[in-house]
């Protein structure tokens, strides 16, 4: 079980209590006004005492002012409590999402995380706000009316005792039926969000294949489906008002019906019947307000459950505690490490390899052979499903993730840059780096020149690096990793968009870094042939480990790869 949503009220408890209290106070002052009017009439007018009338009028103004003040205070506290709650919840949710592993996030999906952080969070916020404003007032008025009824006529007042549970049952039933329906509506919103993101991120492909119309059609179907769900839940919640109205007016009829019998037996005055009817009507007025509240709260509960589900998703990865390297020569060792993303064939099967500090390792193999999987286990993006991976003498699962990853510079296959300046993007790797250090890193990654041509470190990069070419993006991500001066540098096929000359230059400048343990994943033999060791992967198995020369002698897969690249040219 993750964090309970209710804990986010922590720090706003005072507001959450004060808001309904002041709301109650307002109701009390409202009730005093008729008394003032009564004495204005009974005393002031009866005695023709104009100064008294003026005093009473002044008292009413004061009552109105005090009522206004308590109402404003109540609204302020409830707004604060609701907003504060939502702020804390969102912040915790964002942190929690970050603490999830990639596997967890893959399972949940990006779009639904976005809708839960936005739409659902708003619904919860609204629910709390409305709840604090009305939740105490309404039961107070309803129960108060029933109590007053007993002072009038204790027999007929039993009608109140019957009707209040009946109303509660109606409300509870409708909430019970609609909450799962509202949840479905929010789920439908997830697919709306997903399609929208797809249409934005895939705009080039969809346009190239002239599929925008098809996507639009599919979207329209989703929108219709969501509409049907909204209408279905709306139909049920639309019953609330009419049902409560009918129930309360039925009770009014009952009061009159039984009132007549008691009147016949001279047990009750007509005035008392009128009073009872009035109390019943007060309940009705309050219930009309409550009906909106019920819908808001039901939606909030549905959305709250969706958010809770994310909190309940325990990170499948537990953070370790070690923050320093153990003694020894090994930088990274794979000990029969296997990884399967889902049930089925593992992407990496029982790989064993020990890499000494400062060693340079090449990883090569066919598409889907497990190259990325293998290097992803070093910074513990994924855990081994069997066997283990150790970094600097410690099992990665015992490292604190932050310490482990701070030793490693990764250049992922997909060159991801963030919206912001070149400098911002570089500082991601090391927030305290100076401009000079950034420029050195750019120089090493052959990115200095184009960055300067574009206007220097202040050049604004669009989301996903949209305004840079693929090769430029790759060079910036390489520079970013280099800036970190990592103990272990991982280049995951990160020069695929570079021409050979640039790649060779970068390779040379990386080779010149002393002491760094290097992993290079590549499709190109030329990128790995100079490495101390080359791992050849085939369908998740390490089919050869050794130097270029050794593998050329002993590993048929490697020979084939080499042959495919040099072709007739060599």
């Amino acid at each position: 079980m993750g964090v309970r949503l209710s804990t986010f009220i922590e720090g706003h408890k005072a507001e959450a209590v004060l808001a309904p209290l002041f709301k109650l106070l307002e109701a009390v002052f409202e009730l005093l006004v008729p008394l003032a009017v009564a004495s204005l009439i009974d005393v002031g007018i009866a005695n023709g005492d104009i100064p008294y009338i003026l005093r009473m009028a002044l008292l009413m103004v004061v009552l109105a002012l005090v009522g206004l003040a308590s109402s404003v205070t109540a609204q302020y506290f409830s707004a604060r409590a609701a907003t504060g709650f939502a702020e804390k919840m969102k912040s915790a949710l964002f942190c929690h999402i970050q603490s999830l592993s990639e596997k967890d996030r893959d399972e949940i999906g990006t779009s639904t995380l976005i809708t839960r952080l936005t739409s659902d969070a708003t619904l919860v916020q609204n629910g709390i706000n409305m709840f604090l404003r009305l939740a105490m007032r309404s039961p107070f008025v309803v129960v108060g009316a029933a109590v007053m009824a007993f002072t009038v006529d204790s027999t007929l007042a039993w009608i109140f005792v019957i009707i209040i549970p009946l109303l509660s049952i109606i409300v509870a039933l409708i909430m019970r039926v609609t909450i799962p329906m509202y949840r479905k509506v929010q789920n439908a919103l997830d697919s709306i969000a997903r399609r929208t993101r797809d249409s934005l991120n895939g705009s080039r492909v969809l346009r190239a294949f002239c599929r925008t119309a098809d996507e639009e059609k599919a979207f329209r179907e989703d929108a219709e489906a969501m509409y049907s769900l909204q209408m279905a839940s709306g139909r049920i919640s639309s019953l609330l008002n009419p049902l409560t109205y009918a129930a309360v007016n039925g009770a009014v009829a009952a009061i009159i019906w039984f009132g007549r019998e008691r009147f016949g037996m001279s047990l009750i005055e007509v005035g008392a019947i009128v009073a009872l009817v009035n109390y019943m009507n007060q309940i009705l007025v309050e219930l009309v307000k409550l009906a909106n509240l019920i819908v808001t709260i039901s939606r909030a509960v549905a959305s709250g459950k969706r958010i809770q589900a994310i909190f309940d998703k325990e990170p499948s990865m537990q953070d370790g505690t070690f923050s320093d390297k153990a003694d020894g020569e090994a930088a990274v060792s794979f000990d029969s490490a296997s990884l399967a993303y889902a049930d089925g064939e593992p992407s990496l099967s029982s790989v064993t390899l020990t890499v000494r500090k400062g060693e340079k390792i090449g990883i090569i193999g066919g598409t889907g052979s497990g190259k990325t999987t293998m290097v992803n286990m070093i910074p513990r993006f994924y855990d081994a499903t069997a066997g283990s991976v150790s970094v600097f003498g410690r099992d990665v699962r015992t490292w604190s993730l932050a310490s482990l990853r701070s030793l490693i510079g990764v250049v992922p296959q997909k060159a991801i840059l963030l919206k912001g300046t070149v400098r911002d993007n570089m500082l991601v790797a090391r927030p305290d780096a100076s401009d000079k250090e950034i420029e050195e890193a750019l120089e090493m990654a052959c990115a200095y020149q184009f960055v300067m041509e574009k206007g220097g470190l202040g050049f604004q990069i669009e989301q996903r690096g949209q305004n840079l070419s693929g090769g430029q993006r790759q060079r910036l991500t390489i520079a970013r990793a280099l800036l970190r001066r990592p103990d272990i540098l991982i280049l995951d096929d990160s020069t695929s968009a570079l021409d050979f000359q640039t790649e060779a230059r970068i390779r040379r400048s990386i080779a010149s870094i002393e002491g760094s343990t290097l992993f290079v994943v590549s499709q190109r033999v030329s990128s790995v042939m100079g490495m101390d060791k080359i791992v050849v992967l085939d369908k998740g198995h390490a089919v050869g480990i050794g130097t270029h020369e050794e593998l050329m002698r002993s590993c048929p897969v490697y020979q084939e790869i080499c042959h495919s690249q040099t072709g007739g040219a060599r």
């Binding site: 702020e87 990639e102 080039r204 346009r207 294949f209 021409d499 499709q523």
Partner: protein, 577 residues
């Protein structure tokens, strides 16, 4: 926001219910009927009580029976009205979503490339939700409120027309107070929506870049940044929520003052014998009853600001300039794949001129390779050829027809494209392949997969072609994603082919195998290829060497090698250690 803009937004918002006049009328009628029967009920109660006092059994039973009928009818009217209101607001929001989606498909890529996608998602999700809520609240409360006011005014006139006039004259006071607050809340609501958009954009970016974030231990910094946006949102949200909730207490206060004034004036009049006590109490009852719906309406008006603020963000997006309308243009007639670039100049918005006066003739079934250092403008050529961006000047003739004078779809359907940045939609593998050719059957899909050497992989998946994949997923490798997008392009069976680093993430052995498939696909088709592995383009008919947006060398492989220039250097560098 100016009053005229505000009115425009509101009327545009309401125009979404235009096609639903029937439901609008139904909702109004039901509101009227339920208000009438609600007002009728107390009268029936009164009659029944009178009958008790008068011990008139017959009229008592009649009154109680009528009460039952009125209660059931009112419930029914309310229910029908609720349904009609649901239909009005949910279909309006549904149509808005459709329009936003349509707009995404119509906006030029220059817009989509430069605007945070998360913010657009936020308009689609949060802002439309807000509008739906506002409309529902508006329809529900406004109609009944207006009807109740009308009913009460009529009742008041029947009792005392003088008092009625006094009360009517004082009501602008509460409206004035409400509009004073409403104007201010609009700004807060707008800012709240904006910061929500900013927040969504940040979450979208960070969740998409989770890999990078984890690699660089950005979690802590991201949280700080998120909290910063979050607290800005919270500040705006607090202001919006609080100020909008002021309307009700404030208008109620104003009404209390009116009530006091009536009580004071009436009291003095009664004390001076100008008015009976009974008349005064009657006036007071109506004065307070009359004020109630006004309170409710003014409350709705402020809450409604939230919907208008969100609607404004939606309509701003819908008003963004679309790509020029091409529906009246003829379709490009596909012939044999001849392409002529004439005098093309191009610059990305706000950037320096990248391509200046580019001309080139490509004959049918020619294989054209574009090589050059990164950032030379190779991908830009593709952007222009596919009309993702329009040239600043010059044009491209496809099969002898000016491509600016044809529909974009007919132009794009000449080509099948595989891009450097693979993109897969969230869906099954089958759905992704059908993007290339919706008419393909499973046999054709498996054929294409076989050609791309993915058949073994697909068959090893638990659900085969129905396996769910998404662009964000790490479970499918980059090379496999690329192979899938190649299979997708092969299924399209195009006249021409564009391959932009199509096999950059694919291993070289598979690449060679796919090359054969490409070669057979390209036979008789014009093709444009961008590649760094120069071995894959050696047999191109024409190799263009681009640098800084212009072509510095062109010719066949042998010609360029003989010339010993830039290309020759580039080619030889592949084999240097």
């Amino acid at each position: 926001m100016k009053a005229s803009e505000y009115r425009r937004t509101v009327s545009q918002m309401l125009s979404y219910t235009r096609g639903m006049k029937g439901y609008l009328a139904l909702s109004l009628l039901m509101a009227l009927l339920s208000v009438l029967s609600t007002l009728l009920f107390p009268m029936l109660t009164g009659a029944a009580i009178d009958a008790i006092a008068a011990m008139d059994g017959r009229s008592f039973i009649a009154s109680v029976a009528l009460m039952g009928v009125a209660a059931v009818l009112t419930a029914l009217f309310q229910f029908v009205m609720n349904i009609a209101n649901n239909r009005l607001s949910y279909s309006a929001s549904r149509e808005m979503r459709k329009d936003i989606f349509h707009q995404i498909g119509r906006l030029p890529l220059s817009y989509l490339d430069s605007h945070p996608h998360g913010d657009i998602v936020s308009r689609m999700i949060s802002d439309v939700d807000q509008v739906a809520d506002g409309l529902l609240l508006g329809f529900t409360q406004l109609f009944t409120g207006v009807m109740t006011i009308a009913g009460t005014i009529i009742c008041m006139f029947t009792v005392s027309w003088q008092v009625a006039i006094v009360v009517i004259l004082t009501t602008p006071l509460s409206f004035f107070a409400a509009s004073f607050i409403a104007k201010r809340t609009f700004t807060f609501f707008y800012r709240q929506s904006e910061s929500k958009g900013e927040q969504t954009a940040f979450v979208d970016e960070m969740v998409s870049a989770a890999h990078t974030a984890a690699a660089f231990g950005m979690e802590g910094r991201n949280s700080v940044r998120f909290d910063e946006i979050n607290s800005r949102w919270a500040a705006n949200s607090l202001l919006a929520t609080f100020f909008s909730s002021l309307t009700n207490p404030v208008t109620r206060f104003v009404n209390s003052l009116v009530y006091v004034a009536v009580a004071l004036a009436g009291g003095i009049a009664a004390a001076s014998g100008l008015m009976t006590v009974g008349a005064l109490s009657c006036i007071l009852v109506y004065a307070s009853q009359y004020a109630k719906p006004f309170n409710e309406i003014s409350g709705v008006v402020t809450e409604f600001q939230n919907a208008v603020a969100s609607a404004e963000r939606i309509f701003l997006f819908l008003r963004e300039e679309q790509e020029s309308d091409d529906s009246s243009l003829p379709a490009l007639v596909h012939k044999d794949g001849e392409v002529t670039f004439s005098g093309i100049s191009f610059a990305y918005p706000g950037a320096r001129l990248l391509i200046d006066g580019f001309s080139l003739s490509v004959h049918p079934s020619m294989k054209v390779a574009i090589v050059g250092p990164t950032g030379a403008g190779k991908t830009t050529m593709i952007n222009l050829l596919m009309r993702f961006y329009d040239p600043l000047s010059g044009t491209i003739l496809v099969d002898g027809q000016d491509y600016l004078g044809c529909t974009r779809d007919s132009l794009r359907s000449c080509f099948a494209m595989v891009l450097q940045d693979t993109w897969l939609k969230s869906g099954t593998i089958r759905e992704n392949l059908l993007v290339g050719n919706p008419a393909a059957d499973d046999g054709m899909l498996m054929d294409a997969l076989r050609e791309c050497h993915l058949d073994g992989y697909i068959l090893s998946l638990e659900h085969g072609l129905d396996e769910y994949i998404s662009d964000d997923s790490e479970a499918i490798s980059a090379g496999q994603k690329q192979l899938l997008s190649i299979a997708r392009a092969m299924l399209a069976e195009p006249e021409m082919l564009i391959l932009d680093e199509a096999t950059s993430s694919v291993d070289t052995r598979t690449e060679i195998l796919i090359q054969q498939a490409f070669d057979s696909l390209m036979k008789g088709r014009t093709s444009f290829i961008i590649a760094h592995r120069l071995s894959t383009i050696r047999n191109a008919d024409l190799i263009l060497v681009m640098k800084d947006g212009s072509i510095i060398e062109s010719g066949s492989h042998d010609e360029l090698m003989a010339a010993g220039g830039f290309y020759c250097n580039l080619y030889n560098s592949q084999f240097s250690r």
